[in-house]
Subunit: 489 residues, 2 copies
């Protein structure tokens, strides 16, 4: 793409000013529509060093109400960020519905630096490009407007700018080693950028190469393309998108109705076995902390199935500095305003840490599906989105363990009634629980579909038969111990 591109003809000063004035007014008007229509707008500005990315963003935001936008500059990943998955620090920056997020370079810049400076091999590069494409497609599929700009200047122009900055004592600090390196290896960088732009030029999120030879002209080009993109996105309200086929390796799973629930653990065996497994888990926790293996344990299950007690038996064995439990309730307004996976990306553990989720992203295909909190296209698409999400975590090196805590309908009734009749347990039971119970059959169908479609080899579901809660606890501990041993081998 970059190689085919040719320099633009900059309009005359007068025409340029007139067009700038017109497009700034247009953007000022659009921001209210963006807010009303709840459109999230992500503006990614990539480009050569000294091409003026930052100052250009600085000008564009002048015409937007400060309540409606945020700006983030890509820094070198912090020590903390280096311990998170590749996409983490980008995903957490996506805007809320109705707001703009400007990024002064982002995942392209990060990937290009890694490729150019560390000679990333072809397979790893291809893998990263697939991650990026999935990331961007997940955003546009979910109604995000993703505008990607690449600010382009020639080798000569870049050299001139670097020299000018160097001669200016006050501006010298703005040149970094990377700019110098880039200019010296301009052709090599050009090759890498050109491939990347071509590889990630998605129909739903195309690249726009901007002629950055003059600041005003740069601003005008971006504003005109951005406002046009906003027009199109506002027009395409509530779009349905093609459902992708699963390409991840699935493991066959039984239906819930086929699972025998009479499994029990002998009372006298329970305590010693619990102690033994917890002790082993404690040791493993220590080792995975040192080896920096991240672990994600996800719990889903029927109301009153015993998730809480089960999680407790795990955490009892863990060093509190190395794990976190995330109880997941209905999303907060700022969470609801973003991609539904955002709040989970935000809760990703660092390498060496364990994150336990009490309810998870699978709410999308259970409660959100059944209560109509999202469209059919949304939840049908979600199976693949979750497999992609977990693939990303798996590729990062995470151990992913997903538990479905299973009981039958009678057992649930018995436990509900007991809760209702026991004053100190009454807080645990709500009207919603009873309402959900009425939809048992629909839930069962949805859960079966979820388990069939998202039990991947790298992140399978494990069923915990929990009519005997003790049995379920021992089984959970066994599975966690087993999986951690495998990962640490």
């Amino acid at each position: 793409m970059l190689k085919q591109w040719i320099e633009t003809e900059k309009p005359q000063e007068e025409a340029l000013s007139a067009r700038l004035k017109a497009v700034r007014e247009k953007l000022a008007g659009q921001q209210m529509q963006v807010k009303d229509m709840k459109l999230p707008v992500l503006v990614l500005v990539e480009g050569w060093g000294t091409s003026g990315k930052g100052s250009c963003i600085g000008k564009i935001i002048k015409d937007i109400d400060p309540r409606f936008f945020k700006v983030a500059s890509m820094e070198e990943p912090s020590v903390e960020e280096q311990r998170k998955p590749f996409l983490y620090r980008h995903f957490v920056k996506i805007p809320e519905a109705g707001k703009f997020q400007f990024l002064d370079s982002g995942w392209m810049d990060e990937l290009m630096k890694e490729k150019l400076n560390h000679n990333m091999d072809a397979a790893e590069y291809a893998n990263r490009v697939e991650s990026v494409k999935r990331f961007e497609r997940q955003l546009t599929d979910n109604g995000y407007l993703v505008m990607k700009f690449f600010l382009h200047i020639s080798k000569k122009e870049q050299k001139k700018r670097i020299q000018n900055l160097m001669q200016n004592k006050d501006a010298k600090w703005r040149i970094n080693q990377n700019d110098l390196w880039q200019n010296k290896h301009y052709e090599k960088c050009m090759d890498a950028y050109d491939s990347y732009l071509t590889d990630t030029n998605l129909p739903s999120a195309p690249w726009y190469i901007i002629d950055a030879k003059s600041r005003k002209w740069t601003e005008l080009q971006i504003l005109e393309i951005l406002t046009r993109g906003i027009d199109i996105a506002l027009n395409n309200h509530s779009l349905a998108v093609p459902l992708l086929q699963n390409v991840f390796p699935l493991v066959p799973m039984p239906k819930l109705s086929e699972i025998p629930l009479d499994k029990k653990v002998e009372e006298e065996l329970y305590k010693p076995e619990l102690k033994r497994l917890q002790h082993r888990l404690g040791e493993l926790h220590n080792r995975l902390y040192r080896k920096k293996v991240p672990v994600i344990i996800a719990y889903e299950g029927w109301d009153a199935a015993g998730k809480g007690g089960n999680i407790k038996r795990l955490t009892e064995a863990l060093d509190p500095r190395g794990y976190e439990v995330h109880p997941i309730a209905s999303p907060e307004p700022h969470e609801k305003a973003r991609h539904y996976l955002w709040r989970f990306w935000n809760r990703m553990p660092k390498t060496g840490h364990i994150a336990i989720f009490d309810r998870t992203w699978y709410g999308r295909v259970m409660v959100e599906r059944l209560e109509g909190f999202c469209s059919e296209n949304d939840w049908m698409r979600a199976y693949n989105e979750m497999n992609e999400f977990e693939k990303e975590l798996h590729d990062w090196g995470a151990v992913i363990i997903k538990f479905w805590v299973q009981i039958d309908k009678d057992t649930q009734l018995q436990r509900f009634t007991e809760r209702q009749n026991t004053p100190e347990k009454q807080w645990k039971i709500t009207d919603e629980d009873w309402r959900n119970r009425e939809k048992w059959d629909q839930y069962e169908e949805a859960i079966n579909e979820m388990i069939q479609k998202t039990s991947t080899e790298y992140a399978p579901w494990y069923i915990l038969e929990s009519v005997d809660k003790k049995y379920a606890r021992i089984k959970a501990l066994q599975i966690v111990v087993e999986q951690l041993e495998k990962a640490l081998k």
Copy 2:
């Protein structure tokens, strides 16, 4: 994609039959919606030899009214087709709005064979993949539903099927050399298919890999995915899509108002110069015929600018067996029902032939734009679509010459009045001409934009100043001669 894929679990016979029955009924119902909503549906079935592509299509169409679908099998390109651009024989097969077109393999198959059998080099392959992506994106951008299936079987299964066919005297003819070759080089083919599927897995037209181990199961998978795709497309009626930036090299062009129109040819020089140029053109026509260079000459211009007489001076010099003039009027219903470039793809010359277009695909950004025959998103997108279209023709080896025949408003009035007052010329002037004339300024703006945005290095516009028609004729001949000489060098 193919490598990550794993075998599916085929449902039990009873469940399979029930699902087949349900989805067939669904499709039977959908065909009427497809018709009413004027949705064009392109179903591309690719896959391994002996995977059952043809028989699968045969079953699917049983439930569609024969008026609503067509089936085409990809054959080896005919001698005629080999003399057309790569995309020609695929583009001409796209369905009408409201109808289904099933393709028993298509451009993937063709490209894969070329790559595997003729060791196409990496650059050429990359070029072809870009062509394919543009082609598919142009279809989906213009409201086509493009469903792409790849029927997958294992090496062992393929071998078994080939052996079974060989043992059956009546079926033996169905095995071709390519199937045998494929099976022998299964891994090599797998690599090529996997890359292709990954490279062309567009968000707007994703690939679906179908487990083709059993016929009924294959049919069910395709039908379920197809009917879901139709649902989504029906929901996304009148979608606007992002406008791509131009990445083709443009040549700077003047505005119409900047062009002096006082150019003249001396009366006594006209005849001899005309004869000389026509003679030279005749010679060149002969040579390009032998060298198999295709030539496309496109005429646009104001009403009464003198296009007809200009074209006549060209054709006088040409051997009638080697050229065709295509007068372009409003599209016929069957043309209107397809992608607007379809009727031009259909009129592409063979190599060695000249096609002259009296009005062209640029109607999209002139009359269709101004009369509202297409949406704003449609015509704004068209500049890039035309640059892509002409790039495709250029890459194929065509010489592309585009003329804008220019006069001023007064000259037009004079010629209109003369036509009106001369009985034998009255047929040449209609009410529509007068109506268009009233929109002169809007047309001028649209034409300026068109000329600026579509004058590429490989297919630039040439302005023919035609207040003196003779001057314009000589200039046209000079340009054609010059360009053909350049191409034949």
